[in-house]
Assembly symmetry: C2
Homo-oligomer: 457 residues x 2
Amino acid sequence: MPVQPANPEPAPDFDSMLSRKFGKEVANYFSGSPLNRVGFLRSDHKFLSAALRHPSTQFLLCRDLQPLVDPSNGTKLCWVKYEDVKPVVGEDPYATTEEEMLGLYDSGRYVPQMVFLGIDEKVKEGLEYQGKNKYRGAPYFAIDVTPKSGVKEACEKLIAELEGKGIGFAKGRVMEIEALDDLTISPSSRARTSKTSQPELTTPQAAIYAEARQLLDWNARNPYCAQCGQPTLSVNGGFKRTCPPKDLARAASKTSSGLGNAILTPGAADNTATADESERPPCATRKGVSNLSFPRTDPTVIMAVVNHAGDRLLLGRQKRWPPYWYSTLAGFAEPAESIEEAVRREVYEEAGVHVGRVVIHSTQPWPYPANLMIGAVGQAIPSGETIDLGNDPELDNAKWFEFGEVREALKHGTSGLGDPPGEGYIEGGLRLPPPTAIANQLMTSVVNGFVSGTPNL
Amino acid sequence: MPVQPANPEPAPDFDSMLSRKFGKEVANYFSGSPLNRVGFLRSDHKFLSAALRHPSTQFLLCRDLQPLVDPSNGTKLCWVKYEDVKPVVGEDPYATTEEEMLGLYDSGRYVPQMVFLGIDEKVKEGLEYQGKNKYRGAPYFAIDVTPKSGVKEACEKLIAELEGKGIGFAKGRVMEIEALDDLTISPSSRARTSKTSQPELTTPQAAIYAEARQLLDWNARNPYCAQCGQPTLSVNGGFKRTCPPKDLARAASKTSSGLGNAILTPGAADNTATADESERPPCATRKGVSNLSFPRTDPTVIMAVVNHAGDRLLLGRQKRWPPYWYSTLAGFAEPAESIEEAVRREVYEEAGVHVGRVVIHSTQPWPYPANLMIGAVGQAIPSGETIDLGNDPELDNAKWFEFGEVREALKHGTSGLGDPPGEGYIEGGLRLPPPTAIANQLMTSVVNGFVSGTPNL
C-alpha cells in the first residue's frame, strides 16, 4: 500500500471561512518550504543514518554560508549526492547513538557541521521509514564544506571537482535582487547574475536555503557554551548544541605538559578533583531545559503605519539608501514586550509618531542571520501624527505619503536596493523595495484597503 | 514650560478605522508596561548616573530572579530607594563612560547585575533630562541582590533589613494563580498568597517584572561569549553583553604562577604574543554587529484551530495536567519558518491535523525565561481533520470540542493550573486556563465570532 504523504502541501489558499473573512494569506519570500522537517526524528540516529545514505538524498553544500549554485542554470541551488560528500563527512557519521556520541566527545576533533533539513514527500522513490508512523520522501541535508582543520583537504578536493564542472559557490545575498519566482526572472537580472554568481532562487529553493543558512550560521556562532565557557557539541541533526559532561581533549591536555593553549577564564574555577580526567566542571545547561541549547531566532517588527484619516502612510529612509528611496519602519522586538507594543515603541523612537491599534499582517523568515520579521499595520492616534526624529536618530528622514503616491511607486518604483528602478519610473518619484520584501507586501495591502475594508486599487 | 510626556499612554482602544474593522486590540497579561524604555539613552552614562541617584527612582530587587514583594500589601512588588541599594552597587557605578568601563574590564571582579527598565512619565517630580529631546519621569531599575562574591555581605545585610520590616522575596511564578488586575483579587487567592508569597501582580506591575526578570535571567545565562568562550561584560543598561578585547584578570593570572583555575578550551588556541598581558584573543563578535551581544527572545506559536465547518475547536492536553483540563496547542517556532508555517507544522506534529489559512490574533511576552507567544487562529482543511498523535507524541490527548462546550468552560471551568475550577463548574466538564493566558483569549475570540464574523455569544 502506498504511503500517504504525512504532510500534504500546506494549503493557505484553501477556501475557508477564515480566508473569506481575512483574505488570502500573504506568503512572504523565504517561507513556503516544500520540506516536512519531521523534527521529531532528529534524535533518531537510525533514521538519520538511513537518510544520509539513501540514493534519493540531496545535499546542499555551503562554504562560509554561501550555497553551491549552478551559474549555467539561472543560478539555482545545486545539489550533490552521498558519494560526493562521503570523503568529507565519513562513511556513516550517525552510526552511534546521540548518547554514545556524547561519551566520545572530543573538542579537539573538528567535525564538519551537518544539518538535517527535512524530507520532500512528493518524491515517490524516497526513503521509507517506519517511526511511530510511516514516512516517505527524499531527505535533504546541508553540509558546511568550508575547508578547515581535519577536513581541509577533503573539502578542497570536492570543491575543485565541482569547479571543474563549472559549479561554484554563490556570492552576495539572495534577495538583494529582483523579486523572483519561476516565472518572473527578468532577462536583466539573469545577465547580472551570471556575472556575479548572486543567487536567484525560486520560493521553495529560497526557503530551503534559509533553513540551511540559519542553522549553519547558528552552529558557527555558538561553538562555546554561553553559560560556562566550554566547547559544545552539535546534536539533533544540527538543531541543538549540548554542553557535554566529558571531553576527551581534557584528558589528553592534562597528561601532556602543554597548558599553552588554555584560555584563562577566571570566573569559572575548576577545582574538582575527579577520577576521570576527561570530566568537565558542572554546567547549568545540563540540568533541565536551557534555551541556550536551541537555535536562536530574533523577532523583529516591521510596520505600515497609516494616519488617523486613513489616507497616508508613514515611511522612513536611511542615509545610505539611494535618493527618493523609502520603506516602512522596522526594528528588533525587545525582551518582555508584545509585538503590538514593540510596533508602538519603534515608531515613537524612530519617528515620534504615536500609534494606537496594531494588527499583525503576516510574517517572514529572514536568515541574515536569524530574524523573524513580523509585519504589522498600525494606525496613528489623531494627536500623535507629528514626526519627530529627535529620540533615536536612526533615520535620515520620515514622511507621510499619500496612498496615491505609494500606489504609483508600487507600480513603477520598486527594485532591489542596488538595482535601477522599474520601467516607467520618473526621476524624483518615490522608490520602494521589491515584492520579495515584506515591506512591499504591507504597503500593497494598505493601499488596497486593508485598513478601511474598501478595496481601493 | 512643562515637559510633555514623550510617550503618552499607548492607546490601542482609541477609536480608529483599524479598531472598527478588526475590533479592540487584545492586550495580554505581561504586556502593557507603563514605562517608556527610552532605550536610546541606555548607552548614555551621564543619563544612567543621574537616573540611578534621583530621589524619584524606584528599584526592584530580585534574588534568584524572584522579586521583592510586600505580603501585607496583596503581594505587590515592593520598591526600594537609592540609599538602600548604594551599599550593593556603589556610589555611582555609571561614573565612567561605557568605553572607559571596557578598558577597565576585570573578569575576576563580580559586579551585581543592574538593568535600566525605563521611566514613568506620569511622575511629575521625576528626573528631567535633556538628550536630543527633553525627557521627564521616575526612572526604574532592577538589581540582582543574590548574595554572592564581593557583594555577598552587602546583599545579606540589605535583605536582613528588609525582612525585619516583613518584606521578602516572592516564591513561585506570577501567573500560576488567578487572573488579576487591581479589581479582581479574590479573597481566596489573597489568603493563599499570604501563605506562599506567590506574587499577585496588576497588569502594569507584571509587565515591569517581566522586563526585569527576562533581562536578569539573560545576563545570568550568558556570562561567557558563545563565539569564543571568554567571559563577557554587561553594558547598555543591562541590554547588551560585550566581549571586551582586554581583561585585567588575564594579566594578573599570567604574572602569578597559578594556572590551576584555567578551563581547557582546546579549540581556541591563544598563541598571540602581545605586549599587553591583559589583551585577549580576537573574537568575531567584536567586528560588526553580532546578535549574540543582544538579549534573546524565543518566538513561540499558540493557536486556536477550528474545523472547516467553523463550529469546533481543536484542544490538547498534557499528561501532567489535572483531569478534564485542555488548552490550545503550542510550540516553539523553528529557524527560518514563518509563524503561519510554524502553526501548520506544530498542529501537524502534535495532532496530525492539517491547517490552511492562519490569522495572527495577538501576542504575549512570557518571561519564563524568554518567550514571545504569538497567538493565532487557524482553520483545518476539510481532508485534514483526523487527529493522529503518532508523529510527535507530546500530547496525552487531542480532541475537537464544540463551541458550546468551550463557551460553557470559559464561564465556569477556568482557573490556574494548580487551583480549583471556578464557581458553577460541574465535575467532568471541560477545564481551561484563566484569562491571563493567551490561550483563553484565543478561545474566547473564536467562540465569539472571530472566524465567521457573526458574534456568537
